[in-house]
Amino acid sequence: MEMIRVENLKKTFALKSKVLGIKTGEVHAVNGINFGIQRGKTLGLVGESGSGKSTTGRLILRLLEPTEGKVSLEGRDISKISNREFRKMRKNIQMVFQNPYSVLDYKMTIEDILIQPLHIHKIVTPLEYKKEVERLLGIVGLSKKDRKKFPHEFSGGQRQRIGIARALATQPKFIVCDEPVSALDVSVQSQIINLLKDLQKEYHLTYLFIAHGLNVIKHVSDEVAVMYLGKIVEIGEVEEVFERPKHPYTMALMSASPIPNPEAKRNRIHLNDEIPSALNIPKGCSFHPRCPKAMEVCKEIEPKLKVDKTHEVACHLFHGTEDNHD
């Protein structure tokens, strides 16, 4: 059963001149993406800065308003409903944020932080708050005594656990994990990743896992989508994509990831590091200025993502040019 589906999602930011307020440009942060996630599965969303992956997460959670497109949860369109209605829906979609140091209100005790979602969505009766908080803390590996403390009394890893506990409090079906381990120490990252995987199994959760590190993505995802400048350039089952990457960008990305083995062979694919500004997305295939395999057609026509196989790629190398005249 499909838990979530995103169709033609777009987000454009207008840049306004500070002086006159006139629109001076547009940033197409997310430029028409499509994907779906089955229940209980994890889709990894990987990309570098400016790819739009974090924005995508926020769009699904409506922390940003989509400019266009549709988001469906269990078949129901949640992108057009009112704010008030959506707030009720938030029970089902939660987010684990990147920076554990700033994501919790440092003036609230852990107990308060965890009670609030319980209260808003009436998960349990007020008399059971304390017990539920203790249960949540237990799930994420913290002690009951911690509920009276303040966030700054915990380490980064512990705070991230609290963030996860808060996301779990509403008993959601779908969780967006926005770079949940990037800000943590290496030795702690694995703990959190394991925790997330355990929770997924136990509560049959569906994840959208956003990261920039390919190694982490590989471990948690069932499927992976690679984003570049607001578009998905390649998407497929994770084994497939990692073993047989098709898109030149994906290949460059993989080759660039450092491998903790001094004797591993490295076939570095070099890209020039002139990342285009999101204000000025190149015409045609947005990757063509950097692509080592760029062809003439790439400068003109945007390749489409073919949507019917288990491994799709948006690149002219894999489509006959005839197909792209739609």
Partner: protein
């Protein structure tokens, strides 16, 4: 040790101490000073230090700092230290109220603007810009300098100032809150809160507020400091809170207003002059300025200290407050109640807490212990307004009878006489040959001659006689025709500019005098009548002289007011008549011949009688001085026998009120500590000053108490049923009392009046614009009293008018008067407890 010192929050500590001192002065001023902030001393011996020794000097106000007045006195002779202490309350009230109102407005607007609503942000910005370009001080000054504001009573003034200063100054606070809110909204955790599903209101309350509070609190306290400063500035421009009055006469340098209520701002109002001219009187300004300095410092420091405290990360206080909301939530309570078996402890605890709180809040408005029964008072009014008393004119049968009624009533309540008799009698006839004796003219008529015909007009139908020439009255009682007083003459008018009129022939001339229609004939007769009654001519009325050099004996007053108002008859040095419509027209123009025939009037045949009676208190039997509470009320009126359309109800209200008070007090189970004395004044109703007034007779005679033996507080009951004025007017006079008690009586009286929800207005006799609600009795009795107050007025035009009927009396006001007097005597500790 040093660690401990580092941990102490010094600003908070210091600021807190200073604020506590101020709060102490706010709540318990009597502890800090035993003087009365309003008592003025003109001159006295003071002890000052010269060359290390205390030396006694004589000084006039303003007194420099001396042993008794440690900060000296102001130009009216009021102790500055005491005024600063009492002034703390008023000054702080304004400052706190202003800041409170500002927060009320600024907080929600600032938060909304900071959360992104542009229109509100624009609004705040506009206000800010406006008040940056135009200085707040200027606007505040212009607005608050309007007369309306200047003359407000202190409570209203505080509110008015607060509102004006709020409107002027809220935007800066809002702007700061907006900026802070915007900053906080940028923080990462806000995103998390949205993701959890909070609506903006919840985010605002649960997340924003705890972060905003440190900034807001510290800013608040600093704001208090700024407002205090603004008040100081305004005062220097003579805009301060509270009513003003002109200083009592005497050698003053210049004419300036002084504040009545103690309040720091008003004390600074003289600063420019003092600094510029009176260098040797710096204490006048120095100490009030220091008071402001103290206040501003206290709040600034405390604000700073609180900010430091709130910024500490481990604020269990904030979490505790949050918990508090959880505990207090009614929903939770209800749920716990339903599962009573499990949660019986918290349920009981909360119920108890709620009951206690409710109990505390419903407690203070203490119920009156004794009730003034307005119905009974009404029966007295009805009785005394009855025809049989004929208006209760002093010295005549009706008046005497009414006195009997009062005495009988008092006896029935069990009141004892003062010394042996219930009455003090005085002469109603002036044997020294003076005027203003009351007269009753039973018969008189006027003949107007037109050619052959003579039109006859009768007294009380066509005219009345307010004054009768004394020399021409016969004192015998024979009534033969020849015994009637008669006049013949011709009418004349006079020039506009009221110069004297010379007459060439010898005939008696009768001037026609116009009286301006000011609505109150008594005042007209009195004021205008300065000329009428005086021996010499005034600018109002001409002298009419004929070759014989005799000024006129008879004058005709032209006015419309006769039929609306009861005007009684007095003896004087000329005779005056007021013609009604028809007669007036007949007499209109000059050269009309007429004749007046007056039957010799009835003279007072009874003495005037002040009725005195007491309810002995606990102190009645003791040795030494016995403190009294004296309640005085006039019971006489004006003769209505001739003109029965008039019902003299209002003039009966004081006595009625007083009688009912007597009943209530005498019916008390436990006696009062002080003895209560009732005096019912006779002969008070008169629009002429002094002489045949009961109160004058009383105080001028030897009957007045020796101050040392019977220190007394005097309460005057005036015409409280007066319909024309909604507010109960109260006059406060300080008598001899110098200590703070009189001030406290005043403030506690105000409080009780508010508790009883009586619409009142309080004057201080020394106030600049105290209205004429002062009775002669009050003035007379005040001089030797410790403290006096007068309720109601005796001045208003409804008295003895056609509208003055039993039904038209404002019984609510009367009841209020009665009740407040009863409550003050039985419940107000400052009044009922002996001071010695």
């Amino acid at each position: 040790m040093i660690n401990l010192l580092k941990k102490i929050n010094f600003p908070l500590l210091l600021g807190g101490i200073l604020v506590l001192i101020m709060l102490f002065a706010y709540f318990f001023p009597q502890v800090l000073t035993d003087k009365n902030p309003n008592v003025e001393e003109a001159a006295k011996y003071i002890e000052v230090r010269r060359d290390g020794e205390w030396v006694e000097e004589f000084a006039t106000r303003p007194f420099p700092p001396n042993r008794e007045n440690i900060m000296g006195s102001d130009e009216a002779g009021r102790d500055i230290y005491t005024r600063i202490i009492y002034g703390t309350r008023n000054t702080l009230h304004v400052a706190l109220l202003v800041v409170f109102l500002r927060i009320l407005v600024a907080m929600p607007l600032g938060i909304i603007a900071g959360m992104g609503v542009k229109s509100v942000s624009l609004f705040i910005n506009m206000f800010n810009t406006f008040f940056t370009t135009i200085p707040k001080l200027l606007i505040a000054f212009v607005i608050l300098n309007i007369n309306y504001f200047r003359n407000l009573e202190i409570d209203r003034a505080i509110l008015a100032f607060a509102i004006v200063l709020t409107v002027i100054g809220w935007s800066k606070l809002a702007s700061m809150i907006e900026d802070q809110t915007a900053l906080i909204m940028e923080e990462d955790f806000i995103e998390g809160e949205v993701a959890v599903g909070k609506n903006p209101l919840q985010i605002g309350v649960q997340n924003l507020l705890p972060h905003l509070i440190p900034h807001v609190i510290s800013f608040l306290f600093i704001e208090i400091g700024m407002v205090l400063f603004l008040l100081a500035q305004l005062s220097v421009l003579t805009v301060f809170i509270g009513p003003r009055r002109m200083p009592l006469a005497e050698a003053f340098q210049g004419n300036f207003e002084m504040a009545f209520e103690p309040e720091w701002g008003s004390m600074l109002a003289r600063a420019p002059e003092v600094i510029r001219l009176y260098h040797d009187r710096m204490w006048l300004t120095l100490f009030p300025a220091l008071a402001f300095f103290f206040g501003v410092t206290a709040f600034n420091l405390t604000g700073e200290g609180l900010r430091i405290e709130f910024q500490k990360r481990n604020s269990q206080i904030v979490s505790f407050i949050r918990k508090g909301f959880f505990l207090a939530s009614p929903k939770i309570y209800w749920m716990q109640l339903r599962s009573f078996k499990i949660y019986w402890k918290p349920v009981l605890g909360k119920t108890l807490a709620v009951l206690l709180i409710l109990g505390y809040f419903s407690y203070p408005a203490e119920a009156s212990q004794h009730f003034f029964d307005i119905e009974r008072a009404k029966t007295h009014v009805e009785e005394l307004s009855d025809e049989k008393y004929e208006g209760r004119l002093v010295g005549f049968e009706g008046g005497n009878k009414s006195g009997e009624y009062i005495i009988d009533t008092l006896k029935s309540y069990g009141l004892k006489p003062w010394e042996e008799s219930y009455t003090q009698e005085f002469n109603t006839l002036d044997e020294s040959g003076g005027f203003f004796e009351r007269l009753i003219v039973e018969e008189a008529y006027i003949e107007v001659y037109q050619g052959e015909d003579a039109e006859v007009y009768h007294i009380n139908e066509d005219f009345i006689i307010p004054a009768l020439h004394k020399a021409e009255m016969h004192l015998e009682e024979d009534t033969n025709e020849a015994g009637w007083i008669d006049y013949h003459g011709k009418t004349i008018t006079y020039h506009e500019d009221h110069t004297s009129v010379k007459i060439t022939d010898e005939q008696q001339h009768i001037p026609l005098i116009d009286i301006e229609d000011h609505g109150d004939i008594h005042s007209q007769l009195y004021v205008r009548g300065q000329g009428v009654w005086a021996h010499s001519a005034t600018h109002n009325f001409p002298t009419v002289s004929n070759p014989r050099g005799i000024s006129y004996h008879l004058g005709i007053l032209n006015t419309d007011l006769y039929d609306r108002e009861l005007i009684d008859t007095y003896s004087h040095n000329r005779t005056l008549i007021i013609p009604f419509e028809d007669l007036r027209q007949s007499l209109d123009g000059a050269d009309v011949e007429m004749a007046l025939f007056v039957k010799p009037p009835k003279l007072p045949s009874y003495p005037g009688r002040n009725i005195t009676a007491i309810i002995p208190g606990e102190n009645w039997e003791q040795e030494g001085p016995r403190e009294l509470i004296v309640i005085g009320a006039p019971y006489d009126g004006a003769y209505t026998g001739g003109r029965e359309a008039f019902a003299p109800a209002i003039t009966a209200t004081p006595a009625a009120t007083s009688l009912e008070i007597a009943r209530v007090l005498s019916a008390m189970e436990e006696p009062l500590e002080k003895t209560v004395m009732f005096i019912f004044w006779d002969g008070e109703y008169s629009f002429y000053p002094f002489r045949i007034r009961g109160s004058f007779q009383y105080t001028a005679s030897q009957r007045t108490f020796q101050q040392a033996d019977f220190p007394y507080t005097y309460i005057d009951v005036g015409y409280t049923g007066n319909e024309s004025v909604d507010q109960l007017e109260i006059n406060i006079m300080h008598g001899q009392k110098r200590s703070d008690t009189s001030y406290l009586i005043r403030t506690s009286l105000s409080q009780r009046l508010q508790e009883l929800e009586i619409n009142y207005r309080m004057f201080d006799a020394s106030q600049r614009w105290a209205r004429g609600s002062v009775s002669r009795a009050l003035y007379g009795m005040n001089m030797n009293s410790q403290f006096s107050m007068g309720f109601g007025s005796n001045y208003y035009p409804y008295i003895n008018r056609l509208e003055d009927k039993v039904e038209s009396i404002n019984y609510e006001k009367m009841e209020g008067t009665g009740q407040i007097i009863v409550d003050s005597i039985t419940m107000n500790s400052h009044l009922k407890e002996p001071q010695n």
